[in-house]
Amino acid sequence: MIPNVIEQEILIEAPMDVVWRVVTEPEQISRWFSDSAEIDMRPGGDGVLAWKDHGTVKLRVEKLEPPRAFSFRWVFPEGAEPREGNSMLVEFALSAEGESTRLRVVERGMRDMGAWTEEEKARFVEDHTAGWVGHLGGLRTYVAQDCQVSMRP
């Protein structure tokens, strides 16, 4: 089953400029998203996210409006230009809430991949799904370890 829109949000007790840097600076991205991130951070800029265990994913920056909006397209067929219909769009939106920041992420386009052949879809499913399962496991461990550390006196 394929969702068309996924939304998640979180309230962060830090000002927008700090959250903006964590979300958009490649060296920070490699701490919460991939194992490494090389991104030409400007609209139209290309980037590569890499995971040690499951390869790389290309992305292209769409919108970069500090400190409120950042979006990119990813998961498009090899050699193709990312656009609506052959890729997924990930949009981050930041808004101030008192001294905190609300961070919202929306990922859309999963069911619009009409340009993909069945073979491409199947290959993507295999690569992407397997990769994410491992990645998610790693992040969970990371978060859990951090909680243990911060609970120490």
Binding site: M1, I2, P3, Q8, I12, V18, M110, L136, L139
Partner: protein, 121 residues
């Protein structure tokens, strides 16, 4: 991400809309309810509730049964379960990533208040 069936898309559209998720929460708490009762607990009109129930009904997530003059609705647990499970896989990934972003930003903020600088400064 296997090639989807039309029914699945409907299921997705039905449960990813925030108002309908709230409606489902209330309906699950009641087990069975009429549109009027649901509208009493939600910031929607009865008319809006009826529309949302129709979308959920087409997707097979709720079922209406007539009791005299009124229709009572209930959730079909298996269909809802299927939808939530598939959706939560993707949503959970972003949820976990956002949790890490929160942790990083909050600790960077604390460091900065203490006079330290963020990596990269």
């Amino acid at each position: 991400m296997s090639p989807q069936r039309a029914g699945d898309e409907e299921l997705w559209a039905a449960v990813t809309e925030p108002s309908r998720r709230r409606l489902l929460d209330v309906l699950l708490a009641h087990g069975e309810a009429t549109p009027t009762a649901l509208a009493g607990e939600l910031p929607f009109t009865r008319q809006a509730v009826v529309k949302h129930l129709a979308v959920l009904g087409r997707a097979g997530i709720v079922e209406g049964r007539r009791h005299g003059r009124e229709v009572r609705y209930a959730v079909c647990p298996e269909r809802l379960d299927a939808a939530v499970r598939a959706m939560s896989d993707v949503a959970a990934r972003w949820g976990v990533r956002l949790t890490v972003v929160k942790r990083l930003a909050e600790s960077a903020h604390l460091d900065r208040r203490r006079g330290a600088r963020m990596a990269g400064d």
